[in-house]
Symmetry: C2
DNA sequence: CCTAAGTAAGTGAGTGCTTACTATACTCCG
DNA sequence: CGGAGTATAGTAAGCACTCACTTACTTAGG
């Protein structure tokens, strides 16, 4: 016989779980979900799996986020205003000049992506599945950083250390070499067929770029 | 009253559709599905949607492909042994030398991806969702082409027209600039914030690269 | 040339399972 | 007590995939 709705009286014999404050729980859900969305994409990651990994029931997720989409947005937001990202790089660059600036940038990007590819995966998934959200990424993490590099190059052109090249394109050329290599190695699995020590890669790319930008 | 199974007698009043031979139909399914898988990914594209766009019932798909996965593999295969891809580029390069080789390669890639981003999307989706399949892409389309460029650069180094740089890294640097720019513009939506005429982009990238590889 | 048997192509209505999301009741703690 | 937090047990819709059956086309025999 079926109940119309509601619950039958239940016996609370199951071992009870730890309670958490709302914000703790929310942060934990975001953490777990970030990992899953990065691995499986928005459509591939299920609320059930997220709840399972967090050790709670699906209903708890919906106490904190009214729709799956909202949880996804929260993740993108948290990744955009992240402590671990570009700010750290920019501080590493303080006081550095010449060739070293480019070496630091290239090493940073290669290392960061090798260490944790989830940011890269989230970015790519959001570009493919949810184009509008990927623009958030672009705006907050991409453009700020590209803008820095662009104006750095611009000033090197002004002092005559580099020849006159559209600084926007030059910056994109440099980032492109590094990022594309990183993506190919980590995500496309290209490292199965081609591999060089990270130091050599950085040296080669920085060489080609700086030499390419030198006045003749 | 319900039948135990089987169909109720049906009246064939609906306008009948064209019949197709098996191979025609199979090719059509692959064509329609390519488009959908490229837009939505493996998980995002549904068999129902594919059938709908092809104007057939889902069951027909399963006459030709025993699982959805098989259809996906067929698409990857067909895209790998494609007439429209690298062979065309390689023939365009016949007899060309010097700077022009690099201009042609860069223009080709930028134009190809702008015209039809579905190959790029399939590649990226397969890297994220189905890593093993993306290696098929890499092997057939990527490595062959990279290998060509690599050995071209190698020979330029031998004749002394370029300085000594790991040719594998040099080739990846050049392709990286171009591909990453293309991906950023077309897939990340970066063209909303930054745009240059294609000719200028090609010129700048080729300049930086060739100048960067010149003997000092 | 006509017709009927044989078969490839196609269909509509499922199956069983999974999904995002919800309604309701219980419990712990301030 | 009251409300935040959690659990149980849903629901309706959507998914890949199947089945029993029909229809269109081909072809062999008179």
């Amino acid at each position: 016989m079926k109940r119309l709705s509601g619950r039958p009286a239940k016996q609370p014999t199951v071992p009870r779980r730890k309670r958490m404050s709302g914000e703790e729980r929310k942060a934990q859900i975001v953490r777990v979900a970030t990992d899953l969305f990065a691995r499986e994409g928005f459509k591939g990651a299920t609320t059930r799996e997220i709840a399972g990994k967090a050790g709670i029931s699906e209903a708890v997720i919906y106490k904190h986020f009214s729709r799956k989409e909202d949880l996804y947005k929260a993740i993108i937001d948290s990744r955009c205003s992240n402590p671990g990202g570009e700010p750290r790089l920019l501080s590493m660059l303080k006081g550095k000049e010449g060739r070293e600036v480019f070496v630091i940038i290239a090493s940073f990007l290669l290392e960061e992506h090798r260490r944790d590819s989830s940011f890269l995966r989230l970015l790519m998934y959001s570009a493919l599945e949810r184009q509008s959200l990927s623009e958030l990424f672009i705006n907050t993490r991409g453009l700020e950083f590209l803008g820095f590099l662009e104006s750095h190059i611009q000033s090197l052109i002004k002092t005559g250390e580099m020849r006159k090249v559209d600084p926007g394109l030059a910056a994109r050329a440099f980032i492109g070499m590094v990022e594309h290599y990183s993506i190919a190695q980590e995500l496309y699995g290209a490292k199965r067929f081609f591999s060089r020590p990270e130091r050599k890669v950085v040296e080669a790319f920085v060489d080609i770029f700086l030499n390419g930008m030198r006045r003749r």
